[in-house]
């Protein structure tokens, strides 16, 4: 298992340049600041959530003399655009228009299994299965077409609804004619494809968490204005660059990136789970303070800043046409970049979300009193951590197994006190 491509450096270069970072970081007047953060995210987990060795994604194709292709897959379109990806991949392999591909997804009664829309796995896993299915049917069609055109099947090109000789495009069939010949030769045409991720080399407890066929990367710069009198926070602009590997549909990818910025900002500034205890002499119940969506706030269009979005394309050989995930990764750097921007603006650290004006004022008060200018949890959660497992890297001579003895024994169950 190997990480394919890492477009992070280019992502950082893009946001640094476009936000004019070097001229602004630590140089804006008090109350204004910029912050940067980056992240990496997996494109599907290497281990399935159901522990078996069967494929994580399956795709079935049906092709008939009408020239139409129908693709079946269990992947669930939840608004993220997975149907579009599926159709585009099949159309690309077969050299036809997306409009000639019908798509049947998410119906467990008639489609092959796909494990689901989670873990940013669908494009990579469903996409690889779709490529396999489409290439298998393309090979059958090419075999039938080669007899008609009179050249070897591997010299045929599938493009723009035609099948032709790569060196003489005039020797060609339409895609529909080619299917007709294939049906004559093979009977009803169908194919299937499936995808199983490579096995991760880790052989220790917990090794299954994290390995993925590929990783996406994002860098983000947030600009912020903080009013030191009230703690009020304004975010005028966000720059973000995402390593998508290859954009299959750039409009949808941008939509996903900007949606992620929205969700990240919402998490950073507004969304909150707060509870309170009813009086002990009464019910002593712990109740949710904001149990409805009217009170659980997320930004409106009025609260959204301008977003400058860049797609960095560094195709990854483990991904369909090189395309990585864009479902979850781009939201991750928004929260830390905002927290960093606040530090740049007024020199205080807010180490928990949501970052609200009252926390800003509290941190400024601490700063004025000469205390550590931060607000956030005082210590790591007091949970019984298991003994750490040490896995040497390949450079250290590791083979994926845990070392018998770690370099240093850190006693477990110890509460580590953060500086305060």
């Amino acid at each position: 298992m190997k990480i394919g491509t890492i477009g992070l450096a280019e992502c950082i270069r893009q946001v640094v340049e476009r936000s004019n970072w070097k001229a602004r970081h630590k140089k804006l007047p008090y109350g204004r600041g910029v912050g940067i953060a980056c992240n990496s995210y997996l494109c599907g987990a290497g281990l399935p959530i159901y522990w078996n060795k069967m494929p994580h994604a399956g795709v079935q194709l049906l092709v008939d003399r009408s020239g139409q292709v129908t693709v079946f897959c269990g992947a669930t379109e939840i608004g993220q655009g997975s149907d579009d990806v599926l159709v585009a991949i099949v159309a690309e392999v077969l050299g036809i228009e997306p409009f000639d591909v019908r798509c049947v997804t998410g119906d467990t009664g008639i489609t092959p299994v796909d494990l689901g829309s989670y873990s940013s796995r669908v494009t990579v896993m469903m996409g690889n299965a779709a490529i396999q299915a489409a290439e298998r049917i393309r090979d059958q069609i090419a075999e039938a077409a080669s007899a008609q055109i009179g050249v070897r099947p591997d010299l045929l090109v599938f493009l723009q609804g035609r099948v032709f000789f790569s060196e003489d495009p005039s020797r060609s069939l339409t895609f529909r004619e080619a299917i007709g010949f294939a049906e004559e030769k093979f009977g009803t045409l169908w194919s299937v494809g499936s995808y199983v991720p490579l096995r991760a080399p880790g052989r220790y407890k917990g090794a299954g968490v994290g390995p993925s066929p590929a990783y996406s990367y994002t860098a983000c710069v947030v600009e912020v204005e903080v009013d030191p009198a009230t703690g009020w926070i304004t975010v005028p602009k966000i720059w973000i660059a995402h390593d998508i590997g290859q954009a299959i549909n750039p409009v949808l990818v941008r939509g996903q990136v900007e949606g992620s910025v929205y969700m990240g900002l919402s998490e950073a500034l507004m969304e909150e789970q707060s509870f309170r205890r009813l009086p002990a002499n009464m019910s002593n119940a712990l109740v949710h303070k904001i149990p409805s969506l009217l009170e659980y706030k997320s930004p409106t269009t009025l609260d959204m800043p301008d977003i400058d979005t860049v797609l960095v394309e560094d195709p990854d050989q483990n991904c369909p046409f090189g395309a990585k995930e864009v479902g979850q990764g781009p939201l991750l750097p928004v929260m830390p970049a905002l927290a960093n921007a606040i530090f740049d603006a007024i020199g205080v650290r807010i180490d928990e979300v949501p970052i609200t004006p009252d926390k800003i004022l509290r941190a400024l008060e601490r700063k004025a009193k000469g205390q550590t200018p931060r607000v956030g949890p005082e210590h790591f959660p007091d949970v019984p951590y298991p003994e750490p497992i040490f896995v040497p890297t390949p450079g250290e001579g590791g083979d994926g197994n845990a070392a018998k003895e770690g370099p240093v024994r850190v006693p477990g169950r110890k509460r580590e006190v953060a500086q305060s």
Binding site: E225, D227, A229, T230, G231, W232, T234, M270, R276, L278, P279, M282, S283, A285, V287, K289, I290, P291, S292, L294, E295, K297, P299, T300, T301, L302, D303, T356, P357, D358, L361
Partner: protein, 343 residues
Amino acid sequence: MMRLPWFSYRSPATIAEAASILAGEGPSVMIVAGGTDLFPNMKRKQQVPKTLVSLRKVQGLKRIANGTGLTLGGALTLSDVVAAEPVRSGYRALWQAAAQVATPHLRNMGTPGGNLCLDTRCTYYNQNFEWRQAIDFCMKKDGKICWVATKSRLCLAVSSTDTASALIALGAKVRLVSSRGEREVALADLYRNDGMDYLTLKSDEILTDVMLPAASGWQSSYWKLRRRGSFYFPVLGVAAAVRLGADGVVEDARIVLGACAPRPIVTKAGELLIGKHLTDEVIAEIGAKAASQAKPTDNTDLDLYWRKDVVANFVGYALREVRGDDMRTERMRIARQSLQAVG
């Protein structure tokens, strides 16, 4: 899904007819205007009227009349109010308050009458029936105690109307009509300091008109605090109206705080302004004075102590706008919109 309970619906055509239905039905009847407050409350079984009297078709409740002052019909829509030129030019605080109520859709339905009579709000109360049942309800509806202050005999649910504080600052009166006759009260006297019984309005009275005195010489401003730029009630509203003499001395002033208590608070800070110039020092002093009267409780959005902390700042924004400062940048930051596009 929460459904509306059954109710009978009456749609009279005149004020007299509406008044006589209200008188005949007793306390189980309620008026519905835009329904943007009442219907959600009915779905949550906070208010359970058996009969609703709709003001939609009632004649004479939708006028805008310009005399020595301005009269606004109780059943205009808030969008009508925002679009009315005399409101925009003469009564800026009202315009700014109405323009920031809820969302455009809700302003197209909501009315000044409904906004002024808006039910008080509390995070223990504005929940569905099952949630309230699970905590054994509260005093405001179906229960015995107040979860916010368990020893309190008054309910501390918060007055959450935007326009009331602006209208009180502007010196508005309201006309209340019933089959027993009609009366005019200063708007401030429409409210009581108890979240359960928050209006002095009787169950058979209709708020037909809001009457504003002549605007000449007055400058006013309204600032609203909420976590985001749209789609939520105020968690603090500050309205200031000031009459300045030719020499820049304050001749008269009213500063009203909304969403700090079960009723709008008419602060003493307004009187203290009289005879003074609106200098930065005076504004800071008046802000601190107003803040000392705010009594926010832990039953709305945002941190309770912080909400009190920023009252002085919000009073400052309002007074600086009254003074003529260019507040567009501040407005953009606080309201997340310039407001200019609303009207």
